[in-house]
Symmetry: C2
């Protein structure tokens, strides 16, 4: 049963609003294990739709799913030097393979005789185990490309965790491809970035900036990290997906060579790319409001809820005579419909619950409507409602769902546009960045300058945009900090 | 590239045949981590179809997917006494959460300062973590039933492993339901058994016996374990799915009570049920032959392969003018088609590869066919082929796929029928059981007798059938070992 204490308003405490909303809308909760979450059925239903939409797109790109082991031998992690520096340290380490009854009392203890010869790590990401496998799959150019993806759980021992945004265990997909040439691998990394951007904008209704990371923010072991960056309603940036061009780093670490068409042995070129349950956080923080979740219809587990308003069983039957055919018709149109005839709670209580859960369209029908041949239709995104004729209602709803999807995107885009601005003075930057939003600034391209800005303001370069943002043009200038030349502006923000 | 050394024939070494087939057909392989497998794209595509078919059936039963943590606090395992005895001992134990650079050289070592206060176990099954969660979800009868399932990885530290059949890590689904009454929980456990049996027979084309386990073979913590048992081609039994009635055991261990309609606090009733990647082993061992995999069409990643036979590019173009429309039409009919125009290998090589991979229907067209308006159609299950007219080929193929699906089931059923027999003498049993197959015997119902039979013959009671097997009737008799009374025959076999 949902809890109907009001949410803390976003304006009062955005972070608290988020934490409350995730729990009250039945999306996820903390588990008994530090930093690990339980994804509840309603939250998981959204994740399942994200999965199926992405999976379909991946398969259109020739990707095939596979499954690689959860555990990685410790020694694998140190093979790629940068990778272990950036990644492998905070992780769950398996040292034993057996428990035994406690000889001194109740319960169980670790059996000291069951110590592993080499410790195993719960995967924080799978480049190492996958490239040790690819070594056996690749011998000739005929074996390339390999385009594999896996949907799985991964673990990173984060100290501070927040539901969906940063958890010790999370769910994700990780694609790992192997190519014969540098160009093909780089193109593929870019191509998958386009898939993510298309998905973010057209399914999640989240506008994103496609860009490339500065060296400081690159994935450990990559030559280039492409990313999509989104702006949340508090003006902070959230990295919604990354696609890495890994060069020959992992092929060299795991000695993966192939015989080329020219009959020469060459190292294989690689990419990897992933999105995670973090997208759930992006979804919530982009669209939702002080009344609860707002879901773009494409991801809503329930797109339309139908609530008959009745006092007697007899009235219900009459209402359902009208409502059942509508529900059936909508289902046939591929719309996810729920009819709520339960008598557990009042209509007002139901309305509030479906608002909290972000159901895009709510239909309600009472005795008066029955007499008049009308129905009340309410939309979640604008919180508006009207009474309309039953005739042709199905097409009205279908159009409305499309409109809501588009409106979610437009609202998010309008917010982002209003919160992007150029900034040419570092003094101004220091105060402006605290107001939130993205600042487009010139930067001299050095890690030192980026590091200094981060230390002094907490802002980082979210990305170097691949193309000019709408309404802006790409032009050279001078670094706001050092005055050295800059080829184009980059995006600074404080990020999740 | 597939390896075309012939498979070891089943008659020579069934076990070797299986191991070779799994690897050669590109289904799975051993990984660098002891006992953990890599599921390759072709094998994973079959698993994905198994998942989607089961998932759809679960949802029809009102089940919702969710996700619970990978790691379980060690103390949780000892809460349910029988559960820890039966399960928790051979498992992967996480003791530390950080690595550090080795102060004495290269590589990384476990950071001794990052020892966990309480060790965490990689889930061997999730009853404990889920019931610790359900405690927060359940307070009144209104919160019941809860019908959750999760698709995930689990880990059991098996000493001897075999691909798909017994691996340290495997993929599965585990359903966990909570009910207000004993009857409802028991009914639900039975209902899910029916779902499994329907899936096994109608999708996997594997005949199964529905039964209940003897106390010795019960899931640790269950009051009753229902199961479906299948017969492999070597006459051994394979448990293909289990559904447990857990009574109030886990509710009591985790103190999960609800306020009933009668306003009394009562413990919640539970079920759990699961199938795993072990089903892949059952699928392979039920249908395949000395030429490779045989897949029932419902699970084949490629249902129809189309191979044009040509020497010149020009010939290929003419053939494709005929073949492309057929491929398109088949796809529109929802059939999974692959067209193989590659010039990497000869038609004979391709044919052998698709046979190895178990593609149910193969179409081939050459110059002569083009002139005659014919096509060669070959079916994998019977290894027969014929040349038929192109006209109406799509419907012919659709019917043929249905026929192959049915034939796979019929063949498996005929084998099982031929290898089930009654046995009333324990002396006879000892020699008969070594020949393989299922023996229907009277048993006195005691664990002691079952234990003795297992020690002396390696055979176990696979199940007490819920209903008489086809061609047999249920009748009382005397235990073949002790002569004590028996209500009905039970199924003995040597099992995987």
């Amino acid at each position: 049963m949902a809890n109907f204490q009001k949410l803390t308003p976003r304006s009062e405490d955005y972070s608290k609003w988020y934490n409350e909303l995730v729990v009250k809308a039945d999306l996820a909760e903390q588990s008994a294990v530090r930093g690990c979450m339980v994804i509840k059925p309603y939250g998981y239903a959204i994740w399942e739709t994200i999965q199926s939409e992405l999976d379909r797109r991946f398969k259109q790109q020739g990707v095939k799913n596979a499954y690689f082991p959860l555990l990685i031998p410790k020694s694998f992690l140190s093979r790629e030097a940068e990778h272990v520096e950036g990644f492998a340290k905070e992780c769950a380490v398996v040292t034993h393979h057996r428990l035994m009854n406690d000889p001194n009392g109740k319960g169980v203890v670790v059996d000291p005789n069951a110590k592993l010869e080499e410790e195993l790590i719960i995967r924080p990401t799978s480049e190492t185990i996958i490239w040790s496998t690819y070594k056996n799959w690749i011998s000739s150019y005929r074996d390339l490309p390999i385009l594999c993806n896996q949907w799985c759980n991964v673990m990173r021992w984060e100290m501070r965790t927040r539901l969906f945004l940063r958890t010790a265990e999370f769910l994700w997909q990780e694609g790992h491809t192997a190519h014969a040439t540098k160009e093909e691998a780089e193109d593929y990394a870019r191509q998958m970035l386009d898939v993510y951007a298309d998905f973010a904008e057209n399914v999640m209704a989240i506008p994103v900036i496609k860009g490339v990371k500065s060296p400081n923010e690159r994935f450990a072991g990559a030559l280039n990290t492409y990313c999509i960056e989104a702006m949340m309603q508090d003006g902070k940036a959230l990295q919604a997906g990354t696609s890495h061009f890994l060069g020959q780093n992992f092929a060299k670490s795991f000695d993966v060579q192939f015989l080329s068409k020219e009959n020469k042995y060459e190292y294989v070129w690689a990419t990897s790319w992933g999105v995670s349950t973090r997208l759930m956080g992006a979804l919530i923080m982009t669209h939702s409001d002080d009344n609860g979740l707002v879901l773009p219809p494409a991801l809503a587990p329930i797109q339309v809820v139908i609530v008959p308003i009745f006092k007697k069983e007899d009235d219900l039957a009459k209402l359902m005579d009208k409502l059942n055919p509508i529900a059936d018709h909508l289902k046939q149109m591929g719309i996810r419909v729920q009819v709520d005839t339960s008598e557990k709670s009042t209509p007002g209580f139901k309305f509030a619950d479906y608002e909290l859960k972000g159901v895009p369209v709510r239909l309600a029908m009472g005795g008066r409507d029955l007499e008049n041949g009308t129905i009340e239709i309410a939309r979640r995104d604008t919180m508006t409602k009207e009474t309309i004729a039953l005739e042709g209602i199905e097409q009205v709803i279908k159009n409305l769902l499309d409109e809501i999807q588009q409106n979610c995107y437009n609202k998010a885009m309008a917010y982002r546009t209003a919160n992007i601005r150029e900034c040419d003075s570092y003094e101004e930057f220091k105060t402006e960045i605290q107001k939130g939003g993205f600042l487009l600034c010139h930067w001299d391209g050095t890690p030192e300058t980026e590091e200094r800005i981060k230390e002094e303001t907490k802002a980082t370069i979210r990305c170097i945009p691949l193309e000019a943002l709408p309404g802006y043009k790409e032009e050279p200038g001078k670094c706001m900090v050092t005055g050295k030349p800059s080829a184009k502006r980059v995006v600074f923000a404080i990020s999740y």
